[in-house]
């Protein structure tokens, strides 16, 4: 048939009409829709058998019990462990996002070594033999004491293994990450003579007086503190927060009393003045169980009348007197201190002043009061036999000077390590172990800390993630992640009873990582002789089982053990001081420098404002980086794009010509950064608040390069009394960018 335009057109039209009536187009439409419901790039989780593993969370020293939900061999969720004495089913935001720390790009999957600036994979065998060789050579050269270790804590089997290794190797330089618990231990030791940890029976108290503590922002054990605050609320208890900024704790307290930052100790002493003057103190407790009350009384009456305290703190005398009366008259008053989540030890005299307040109202070791919780004593390993090099090495004074003539009371002064290393031309630390800590990120004055870490010839990091410290390390021996290992949880900070938890592996380790306990034991055996002999266990598992011997079964069964017969209420034998009583004053306390507020670094003329860090639950500011869920849950008044917003009082901002969301330059004596401004009436004029937990340079695209690390802008300030880092902020300048 002749194909001309017309027939061609009619053929097309006919064909179209034909296909329209056939099922083809309709089938295709349906198939496309089904395809749109099953796009290959949208993941479909595999079904499987659901199981739960009870364990303990070790992402922070809170000691919460967790129940890890698994589908076959995949961890899909972490939930609180119902009935656990610390958190009873609830769990903080970091614990809930734990699964994201198991999977993800930042995990180090095998031991790596830095060879002229680039990472090189190596096997575990090579790594341990190489490290052992370097340690042997150092010991041979007689500089055993130049090996140091920075650990997250000094309690529990792993830190003990490290300090035992250092001791038998011949170095006294074991450091613990600084925190308020340094000051609390020292305050308890000085007044009660006990080597113990402070515990707070929040749930039975009915009046909490908090000097800036982030009770519901991660202070102490978040699991317990959140639950206890809920109960306090339920029983109609009252809470007052004394802080320069309306933190979440202040927002949830009955009274927020704004105070000039750094003068909390003065207020405590002012309250003590009123309580003593008005005779509101617990006469019976003072007479029976304390000594040195008159010295204390004299020092407080002379030094801290309300008028002077009001001038120092900016709080009216009326408020001071009223607050002191309410506190003293409450049935179960409890005073706590320690800034925010307690990352910085703070001013020892302030801790003594607050502890004295508790003593004045007699709530030491009472329900609703402060408890001196004894150290865990389940670790009693065989005696060490030191060889010559070891005992000689141990005579050396510690690099940070802790325990020396200058700092008699301090046990660890990690903030001095960078100063000492940078000051000497040949680094006093030749090999540095870093475990469960990220000092390059969390120590103040990041610039000098980095300089020090680059100066230390050989840094060994046991981190599971590529964090800031590990990026500067020379050898990385990746540890299992907290869901892949057995570990004892010796303490829950701030929990009023001694409790031991057991972290159990939920799944087999995903990568070629090895548990740090095993690595220490293998390293010791590689070095042999006296060092090898000090570690009589085949591997860490047997060591743990033997150490926890009698508790092991209950721990495996329940996941925790609370020391039942602990009952410190019998005050007669609660104090181990010379007078077996609570000592308001003794020779050690007398030698300490008296109380005066720690001055923020920087002169007032060029730095008119005060920069104060604050902690938020929505950012992990400990050694673990915030998982993506936390950064996602962060308020948009803290982070926008990759810029942090600092809080400024609207009046102050107006003077500086800054308005909401404007970019500004924040400069301190230590550094400068570009930030955005958030106006908030929840902060004192003249104070700028910046969150901790941002400004990471390592980790992944979800966390790295966002915001500013407060520690870049600040530097340590030595507490005259204890030598700890008592900085609470730094002077700063905010100008329009």
């Amino acid at each position: 048939m002749k194909v001309d335009r017309r027939s061609f057109l009619s053929f097309i039209l006919g064909g179209a009409a034909g296909t329209a009536l056939s099922p083809l187009p309709w089938k295709l439409t349906d198939d496309f829709s089904i395809w749109s419901q099953n796009w290959p790039w949208t993941p479909v989780p595999q079904k499987g058998e659901i199981s739960y593993v009870n364990s303990a969370c070790t992402l922070c020293p809170g000691g919460c019990g967790i129940s890890v939900k698994k589908v076959d061999e995949r961890v899909i969720k972490i939930e609180g462990l119902k009935g656990h004495p610390v958190n009873d089913g609830g769990l903080c935001i970091l614990g809930l996002a734990g699964a994201q720390l198991l999977y993800g790009a930042t995990r180090i999957q095998t031991p790596i070594k830095k060879v002229n600036g680039r990472w090189q994979k190596l096997s575990w065998k090579e790594a341990i033999t190489e490290l052992a060789a370097r340690l042997k050579e150092l010991r041979a050269k007689g500089s055993a004491h130049t090996v140091a270790c920075v650990a997250g804590s000094d309690r529990g089997t792993v830190p003990e293994l490290f300090s035992r290794f250092l001791a038998v190797y011949g170095s006294p330089n074991f450091f613990r990450t600084p925190s308020i618990w340094d000051s609390y231990e020292l305050a308890l030791y000085l007044t009660q003579g006990t080597r113990s940890m402070a515990g707070f029976d929040i749930e039975n108290a009915d009046f909490i007086l908090s000097f800036g503590s982030g009770l519901i922002e991660g202070w102490g054990s978040p699991g317990y503190m959140f639950r206890a605050k809920g109960l306090l609320r339920k029983n109609g208890g009252r809470m007052d927060q004394i802080e320069s900024r309306l933190s979440k704790t202040a927002a949830k307290s009955d009274h927020w009393i704004a105070i000039n930052p750094g003068t909390e100790g003065a207020l405590a002493l002012g309250l003590a003045y009123v309580i003593i003057k008005e005779g509101l103190y617990n006469q019976n407790f003072i007479d029976q169980y304390t000594t040195g009350f008159s010295d204390r009384k004299k020092r407080v009456i002379d030094g801290f009348p309300p008028e002077i305290v009001s001038k120092m703190t900016g709080i009216s005398t009326g408020t001071i007197v009223a607050l002191a009366k309410d506190f003293a008259r409450a049935r179960k008053p409890l005073a706590i201190c320690g800034q925010g989540q307690g990352h910085l030890p703070g001013n020892l005299q302030e801790f003594l002043a607050v502890h004295t307040l508790n003593a004045l109202v007699g709530n030491i070791n009472q329900p609703g009061g402060v408890w001196a919780v004894p150290e865990p004593d389940y670790i009693d390993w065989p005696e060490l036999e030191m060889d010559g090099v070891a005992s000689e090495g141990l005579q050396q004074t510690r690099i940070d000077g802790a325990g020396s003539y200058r700092y008699p009371n301090a046990r660890y002064l990690l903030h001095r390590l960078p100063q000492v290393v940078n000051a000497s031309d040949e680094s006093p630390v030749q090999v540095l172990f870093v475990v469960d800590a990220n000092p390059v990120y969390s120590l103040q004055d990041t610039a000098s800390v980095k300089k020090a870490f680059e100066k230390i010839p050989f840094v060994v990091s046991f981190s599971s993630y590529m964090n800031e410290t590990t990026a500067l390390a020379d050898l990385v021996l990746p540890n299992h992640v907290f869901l892949e290992r057995y570990e004892d949880v010796p303490v829950a900070y701030g929990f009023p009873k001694p409790i031991i938890g057991l972290a159990r592996p939920a799944i087999e380790p995903l990568y070629n990582t090895r548990y740090v306990g095993d690595v220490v034991i293998q390293l010791a055996k590689e070095l042999g002789h006296a060092i090898g002999a000090a570690f009589p266990w085949a591997d860490y598992a047997t060591c743990l089982e033997e150490t926890l011997s009698d508790n092991w079964d209950t721990l495996v069964e329940e996941g925790y053990v609370v020391d039942a017969e602990f009952n410190g209420t019998d005050l007669a034998d609660a104090f181990e001081t010379d007078s077996a009583k609570f000592e308001f004053n003794n020779n050690e306390i007398r030698t300490l420098a008296g109380y005066n507020p720690v001055k923020a670094e920087g002169d007032e003329a060029s730095y008119p404002l005060l920069l104060v860090p604050y902690d938020t639950m929505r950012l992990a500011s400990g050694y673990v980086g915030s998982p993506p869920f936390l950064v996602k849950a962060l308020e948009d008044t803290i982070l926008t794009g990759s810029q942090v917003l600092v809080e400024v009082n609207p009046a102050t901002a107006k003077q500086l010509g800054l308005s909401e969301g404007k970019t500004a330059n924040l400069t301190t004596p230590k550094g400068a950064a570009r930030v955005k401004v958030h106006l908030s009436n929840g902060i004192m004029p003249g104070v700028v608040a910046i969150p901790r937990g941002l400004g990471h340079t390592a980790y992944d695209k979800f966390l790295a390069g966002k915001g500013v690390n407060y520690n870049q802008l600040s530097s340590p300030v030595e507490d005259p009394a204890s030598g700890h880092d008592a900085a609470w902020g730094i002077r700063a300048k905010l100008s329009r960018a």
Binding site: R6, T29, F32, S33, W35, S36, Q37
Partner: protein, 443 residues
């Protein structure tokens, strides 16, 4: 070269000029299509919409273009049902504009939804209580009606007319066009109304919510009414622009005047009803929900939702054009007719803007603040896409189809079959008189 296709007795510009013109608009079209493909393949993150602004520029363009396309159903209704026979000289153009508007609307809906591949679920799993379902069904149905009304015009092309089947088909369709027009009017009444119902039923949004009768909120009737009123103004506007561009009189004055008069009175009574509704809403509905009138308008200067938008919509673009169109003297003078028609179209677009975007901008929760939005280039490109498509459709139809019956009578040419030598450029939309800068589907 394409002279065989041009209807007898009319002059058109030389082919090369026409192709240049289509090429220019084609470029704008491709820019729009490029943005369209970006949206299809990369997803709606290409736009500046967010969870506060689920509806944004596209839905407004959708509503505005359908309202402006209301000229087709109302002119058809007037001609076939009410019997205003004079309108037969403009009905073709009205249908063409309507067809362009509705096809643009369906195209916009095509890429404004998150999952275009299963967009037909709106028909298959229809929720009869939802206004949007009603819109979808009636919109597609009325688009069919417009296609049916437009088909005879296509069949009257010189070449297509030669095929007897098409010739007869077009003749038969003319016979029963009244039936189609009536069904079209019924369908249009409902979907124009349902588009008004879209904001009107939202009892979670006090700004948009209106009481009503049975299931239809007052905005249901106001939207149909305003579409029927301002739609013809849009048709008149496009006709005027086409006449200006082609420098030829295409429709007699009495036809334009008749349509303008009817639309003027419609607009007048619509504005009265609109004012009444706004007063009732401001004094009864909103206060019952705890909001005062001023809560719905930001006082901060320069923002898109100050009180100026209310006065612009009702005052300047509502009362003024209505008055002009009902006063014969003003209606007949060209300048004021142009002004009235343009203001009516702008008023319609403003009303649609307010009823879609301001509804979402206002914070209902007391602890939220006003949400701001500005379209991304992809959104703007895909909104100008229908304009370019409309210009091309109108240019091609004007060139090859007998759209204006009175054209030959108004522009007698001397030699009947001589090749057209008078060069007149095709309609030049951008600089032809004041133009609502974003009103789609005009030429």
């Amino acid at each position: 070269m394409d002279s065989a296709l041009i209807p007898k007795g009319v002059k058109r510009c030389p082919a090369w000029q026409f192709i240049m013109w289509i090429g220019a608009n084609g470029a704008v079209l491709t820019w729009g299509v490029f943005a369209l493909l970006l949206v299809y393949f990369k997803g709606l993150n290409q736009t500046n919409m967010n969870n506060a602004y689920g509806f944004a520029l596209w839905i407004w363009a959708d509503l505005a273009v359908i309202a402006l396309g209301g000229g087709a159903f109302f002119t058809g209704f007037l001609r076939y049902i009410v019997g205003k026979d004079e309108l037969k000289n403009i009905i073709n153009y009205a249908v063409l504009i309507g067809f362009i508007c509705y096809s643009s609307a369906l195209m916009i809906l095509g890429f404004d939804i998150g999952q275009p591949l299963r967009g037909w679920f709106i028909f298959w799993h229809a929720n009869v209580h939802s206004m949007l379902t009603e819109v979808a069904f009636c919109l597609t149905a009325y688009f069919g009606v417009l296609a049916i009304e437009y088909a005879p015009l296509v069949f009257e092309n010189r070449m297509i007319k030669k095929v007897p089947f098409f010739h007869n088909l077009s003749h038969n369709m003319h016979e029963i066009m009244a039936v189609f027009a009536a069904t079209g009017a019924f369908l249009s009444f409902f979907h124009q109304g349902s588009l008004g119902g879209v904001p009107g039923v939202l009892f979670g949004r006090p700004f948009g919510f209106r009481e009503g009768v049975l299931v239809w909120p007052w905005t249901f009737f106001l939207f149909t009414w305003s579409a029927a009123a301002a739609g013809p103004c849009f048709t008149i506007l496009i006709t005027k622009i086409t006449e200006a561009v082609t420098r030829k009189k295409l429709v007699k004055d009495n036809v334009i005047d008749l349509l303008a008069k009817i639309s003027g009175w419609m607009l007048f009574f619509y504005i009265i009803a609109k004012i009444g509704d706004t007063l009732y809403w401001a004094n009864v509905t909103a206060p019952s929900k705890g909001s005062t009138f001023m809560d719905f308008y930001t006082s901060s200067s320069g923002s898109a939702y100050g009180l100026w938008i209310l006065f612009a919509e009702i005052g300047v673009c509502g009362v003024l054009p209505a008055l002009i169109l009902i006063i014969p003297k003003l209606r007949k003078t060209q300048a004021t007719l142009w002004l009235a028609v343009i203001l009516a179209v702008i008023g319609l677009c403003l009303n649609r803007w307010v009823m879609v975007l301001q509804v979402l901008a206002i914070p209902v929760l007391t602890f939220e603040s006003w949400f701001t939005y500005f379209p991304s280039w992809q959104e703007i490109a895909t909104t100008i896409l229908p304009v370019a498509y409309g210009v091309i459709m109108i240019s091609t139809s004007y060139r090859y189809l007998p759209i204006f019956p009175q054209e030959r009578e108004l522009n007698p040419i001397d030699e009947p079959a001589a090749p057209p030598e008078v060069a007149e450029s095709e309609p030049e939309p951008t600089d032809a008189g004041p133009e609502p800068e974003l009103s789609p589907a005009e030429s």
